[in-house]
Structures are given as C-alpha cells and as structure tokens.
Point group: C2
Chain length 425, copies 2
C-alpha cells in the first residue's frame, strides 16, 4: 500500500457544476498521489493514523489555469487600453522577443512560476515563446517547482515581426526535438502550440498536425477571440468554412486532446465541431473584458456538454488570480444574459468554481476534484482575516474567499499528493 | 501665510479626462489645506524650505468613492449570485436591521472606515441605515478619522421589511435633527438620503425635498439600476414620466447638489433632465456587473458634460478597491461598445482615473486634482513590488498600480493638506 495521508478541515469542492460538496470538519484520505476517500467521519481503519488537522480552515481543490502566457509576465497590467491586434504588436511581440536571451527567460520564468504558486494555481496550460532554449528552461523550472503544467513552444512562421519569426523548417524541427525530450512526463509535459492561425503557414500547421499524430501529443491554440482576428483568418483562408475549420483541416482540432482559448465569437457550425471533436474551451473572462473581445457563450457550451476551463490569459488578463477570473466569469455570464441572449446564462458560484477546478482539470485527467481516484491537488485556505461577526456557512466562506480573498489566504498547496513549498530557484 | 508643505516625487493626476499630467520628480507646494502649485522644478522662494522627498514613489490624488453603503461592510463578497431585489431582501435588509444596536454599529463602522483608509479612499459619499444613533456614530467616527465624507441616514417608510421600516414622521424628524447637528461641517457633512423611490412614500419625499431646501443640504439616492426596479417604480408612480421625474417632482433632483447612483438604464429624456439639473452620476461598475444591472452609458454622459464619479457600491460591489472599480469601468465601457452602441465608448485609463478622482471629487468642491486651489488630498504610492526589468514611464507605472497594485502599495494618505494616519478607534 502506498503511503496514506489524512487531512481534516472544512472540505469543499464541486463534483458537478450544480452544487458544492461540503464536509465541514471532514476528512480526505490520500493514498500516494490520489484521493482514496472523502467523508464526514473517519473510517475506523485509520484510527491509529496521523491526521493533519487544519482546524477551521478550508480545503479546496487547487486551481487549474487553462490558458496563460509565461513570457508576458512583465507586461501584466499595462497596454490594456488596446484591442488584441494592436496590443500584440505594441506590447506582446517586443516582450516575447527578449526570450532569445535564455538568462532573461530563466529570471522571468522563475518569477512567473513563483507567482502561480503564490496564487494557488497548481496546474496550468502554458504558452512559452517560439524560442526552444527558453522553453526548455520553462519546462525545467516547472519540474523543479513541483507544480503541474502543459508547456508549449509557440509556432509562428508568418505575419509576425521579423524579430519574432522562425522558418517553417526550424519551427517543426524545434518542436519535434522538444516533443522527443519532454513529450512524456509525469506532471510537466509538452503541448503543441501553434500561436494562432494568422502566424502559422498551412505547411507549418500540416507539419504540426503530423507531429501531434506521430507522437500522440496534445494541442493548444487560440480560437475566435476578437472580430478583427476572425476577419483576418477569413481573409487568409477563404478555402475554410470558418476559423475552427482551419485547425481541423490540419488535424489539430481534437484529433489529439485539444484546448482552444477564448471561443468568444464562434458560429453555430463551429460550436458543433467543437462538441463533436471534444475540443476543450479555455474561457478567459478578464482578458476578454480587457482586450474588448466580448462575452463568451459559456452556458451554451456547458449545455452542449463541451468541456470548459478558465484561464487567466496573463497578460491579456491582468491577474494571476483564478479567484478574480471566477468573479469575472460570473459577471460576464450575467452581461451575456442581459445583452446577448436572455436564456438563463448566469453562472452560479459553484458553476464558475467548477470550471476553475474540475472543468480545466479534466484536460490533465482526473484533476480538480476530491472524488475518489482524483489526483490530490489541494489548497488549504486560511480565511480568518475575512471573519466578521456573522456566522457563515462553509459555502458562504468559500464565496467570500473567491470574491475578496487574497493570495496570502493560500496557506498550503498540494499537487498529486505532495505538498509543494515555495519554489527556490 | 498658512503653513507651507512641499512634496517631491513622481506626480501624476488628471486635469482633464483626456490625458495625465506628469511631473517626474516634480514638486507640489501645499499651503494650508490646498495646493498652491505643482511644477517640475521648485521655485527659488522655497530654496530654504523643507521638502518631503518621496524619491521614486508616485504621488496621486486620493480616491473619491462616490457611492458606498457602510452598513453592508459585513456582506462584502457574498450573495452575489442574486439580482438587486432578491439580494436586498435576503442579504442586505437583515444586515442593516442590526444597526439598531449602536454598539454593533460602532464596531462595524470602525472597521469600515479603516478599510477605506487602507485602500486610499480619502473621500466618500456614504449611505448609513435608517437608524439615527448609528448614523451619528458613523459621522463621529469619520470625523475622528480625518477622512472626508458625506454621510446620509437612509429614509424608508414603505415597501421595506417590518424590521426595517420607519414612520414618515420619525423619518423626517430624525433627518432634520441630523441636519441640524451635522449639516454644516468641514470634512464630514450630512446628506439627505432617500434609499430609493420604492421605499419612500410621496409624503416622505415631499418632506425630504423641503428639508433639502430649508437647510441647503445635498441629496443622494439610487436611479435606474436594474430593470426590475425600474418597472416597480413605474407601477408605483404612474403619474410620473420616468424614474428621475419622481425625484424631480419632490425637488430632490438637482435643486440642491444631487448625486444618483447607477444610472444604468435611463431613457433619453431622463438623461436630458440629469444634464439640465446638473445631477451627478455615481457609476458603480463592479456592482452593476455583480447584480446583473447592466452596462451604464458613461461615454454618453461624459459627452453631454454630465458629472460622473465612480463608486464601489459595497456590498453590491465586492471590493473597496477604487483601482478595481477603475478596471471594471474600463471593461464595461468596452462591452458597451461591442454590445450596445458602437460609438467609441471605450474609456481610456486616464478617463477612468479622472472619474475616480476629480470626477467624483467635484461633488466635494475642488477635490481630486493637484491644480492650484484644489484641496490637497493625495496618496503616496510605493509600487516598488511591481518593478520588473523593463523601464516603465510614470504613466505606465500608474497603469500597473491601478491594474495590479495592492492596498499595501498605499504608503501615505493626505486629506485637505493633513497626513491621515491609520484610524485608532
């Protein structure tokens, strides 16, 4: 039998989006890397076992950031009076070009990962830059940290500034080498990452699709974030029915596990393709508000059974806080209801929390819940600074932590059963 | 000559919404309570004067919270999966009822004011509850703190729960007594505060309008926050053309300085009345997103020359942070552009900052700017924790502080020339 760890505290998580599972003063039994059981009282067989008692604190699943750009760390909080395309040109591309310098990459990526750790993000799906060496550094730093991640070297061989363009050949060769080195892994793995259709020639996409197939590697990219971008894709690919079809033609749309960021303005046919091909949606609410992208139809995706996670999209999103992204996701769902389609689109707190944990966690396998068999990714939350005079239920305390908690509220993090201390890079 | 104080630092503020005024390593000369001059170099007459040198820190105007409910302090961060009217009934009214207990009021209001202080809100326009004694405590605590505020006892003599309803007579008498006691003041003053039309009988509104006239006291209330509320007002007042007309008929719509929170769904005729009567709008972006209220047409108000401030609207808004409200105001303006009326509605960072300082500050007189003659309300911001590897302009540093600064970034606060230390209640 693997080593057993038992934690006691106010356990709260979402098995389904509709409601919270609450075990006030309950127990989680962890065997090795996974949850064995969660219960209100402890089974007799553990009578003599050591219990880590977190008293009145909350124990929740670790957050899963389904879409984030590591090299944009330095740009958090600026440039947000721009739309997507000018923002890329003025702020993002010049910053990403700096990652040719591997020492710079090492410094920034160290701070990036520490920031994820601080905010309680235990897994993330990450874009690097097009630079192979910098991407290796990022992967190595993630491995050292103990946090879980998919990391992708970005591919871009057209429509990019000269200082941030690679040849098709280099792009494919570097990607293949990274797959060979990091395609298999336990907590940190490589993911194929065409930046988005406008920056990838059909030849490059073709080659990437083949690599995904050959090595059985997942794929991430961007889809239908912004009207200007969609129009650009339409002009670049008149042969395709829609934006998603371009990826689909190159076997990068669910042929291997695929996650597409944004999906704000997909048409009905595209949404059907997302569903049929089991493509994940990474909803990036703060980014969509900041870059004037729009209100994504999340309720519609959920009703259709499409898998949805939540991404911070730093630095289109200005915050690493998944809490703030949950809040923005709820807010967006309400505005969608009022201004787009009054079909009960509002997300409840439990639904948005589900997306930020189990929803995105599904891309990693059994992650984001405390059900038996799930990898034990968890946060211990000390919300005592929020304690007022009123008696609050565990669910209300979680809601207050989401809305007004701070990163210092995260007292401990666990990934796959192991406590993760602050990265020492 | 009054006492002169000179501050040196990276001074940034908005004289007009369109652009920031920046004095990198500049000087502010304060004489008594007001700004005498702001300049890049110090006039020779001050050669022998002592200079408070804040080095590389930012010096910005203090924030003005144009709309906030002090008794809802304990409810921040919960109940936000509700719309306005159910939220009032389930969360807000039961909490406000507790303020019959003046000791409770004293405890909560102490924490409330400390929270304003922490976030760098130097002036605020505040709703209390209907309780006279609790309101007096709030006013006294504000006076003790040194922060500036308008504080209003809420009036509600109909359509309220039995535990939170007063008679018309009591309501008017208590209001008049508070005006007599606190109508005149330097930094803290009384403001007439009908909660909103649904909770005030015509008799009460009539009487409040007369008190405003008799004692020359300003007025605040809510206007057109939510569709359900607007419909309710229409049913209650078929004689009135619109919501604003109800206040106007009772001489509480700009007859004395008036500020109306929300103004999300006003019709064109109402907007004209707001403009003609010089009524201020308190835009509450986080609250409007949380309570499914909607996207207020702020650009339209600004284009018409209507005065607009920004309010946190705690606890419909979940945060005391005016920074977060500035971010939400910009986000809302972008969604307005996309989903309501594509007329260049986007607010720039300088425009939203203006609203959060000089825009709301105008309700207090010359407040919210560093132009000569303005009361010296200021924050010294230590943004060193945001320092990365890139060189940033002062304007970019301010933008980063707004988007990702924390309350601990506020190092010092000044109100009307005086440094305000943490309240010791």
């Amino acid at each position: 039998m693997s080593q057993v760890k038992i934690l006691k505290g106010n356990i709260i998580f979402t098995k389904t989006p509709e409601e919270f599972q609450v075990f006030e003063g309950g127990y989680i039994v962890v065997e090795g890397t996974r949850v064995k059981s969660v219960s209100q009282t402890l089974d007799k067989q553990y009578d003599s076992s050591l219990v880590e008692d977190y008293g009145d604190k909350l124990i929740i699943p670790g957050f899963v950031d389904a879409h984030i750009h590591a090299p944009q760390f330095e740009n958090t909080g600026i440039g947000l009076d721009k739309e997507l395309l000018p923002w890329l040109e003025m702020y993002t591309f010049p910053e990403e070009a700096k990652f040719l310098d591997t020492d710079y990459a090492e410094r920034i990526y160290s701070r990036f990962i520490t920031c994820l750790w601080e905010y309680g993000t235990t897994r993330s799906i990450v874009f690097s830059t097009l630079h192979k060496e910098a991407t290796e550094r990022l992967i190595e730093l993630f491995k050292k940290s103990g946090l879980g991640a998919y990391v992708g070297k970005v591919n871009m061989d057209r429509n990019s500034p000269p200082f941030l363009t690679e040849t098709t050949e280099d792009s494919l060769r570097d990607t293949e080498e990274l797959i060979q080195k990091y395609g298999e892994g336990d907590l940190v793995k490589f993911i194929i990452t065409p930046r988005f259709v406008p920056t990838c020639t059909p030849e490059l996409m073709e080659g990437l699709g083949e690599l995904a197939e050959k090595y059985d590697v997942p794929v991430q990219s961007h889809l239908s974030e912004n009207h200007g971008e969609i129009e650009w894709v339409r002009n670049l690919h008149p042969e395709s029915k829609h934006y998603a079809d371009v990826y689909n033609r190159h076997k990068m749309f669910g042929h291997k596990p695929t996650i597409m960021a944004h999906c704000v303005h997909n048409d009905e046919e595209e949404i059907e393709l997302i569903k049929e091909n089991h493509v994940f949606v990474a909803h990036c609410p703060t980014s969509n508000l900041n870059l004037s992208s729009g209100l994504a139809p999340i309720r519609k995706y959920m009703n259709k059974g499409i898998d949805v996670g939540i991404g911070t999209d730093v630095s289109g999103g200005h915050t690493f806080s998944m809490n703030e992204c949950i809040v923005s996701a709820v807010q967006i769902s309400k505005m969608y209801n009022l201004y787009v389609d009054n079909k009960d689109s509002m997300l409840s707190t439990s639904e948005a929390f589900y997306l930020a944990t189990k929803g995105g966690g599904k891309f990693f396998g059994k992650v984001g819940s405390f059900e038996a068999g799930y990898e034990f990714d968890a946060l211990v939350i000390d919300d005592s600074f929020l304690k007022g005079e009123a008696e609050r239920s565990i669910e209300e305390r979680l809601q207050r932590y989401i809305y007004i908690g701070k990163k210092f509220s995260v007292e401990k993090r666990f990934v796959a059963g192991k406590e993760i201390s602050k990265p020492q890079f």
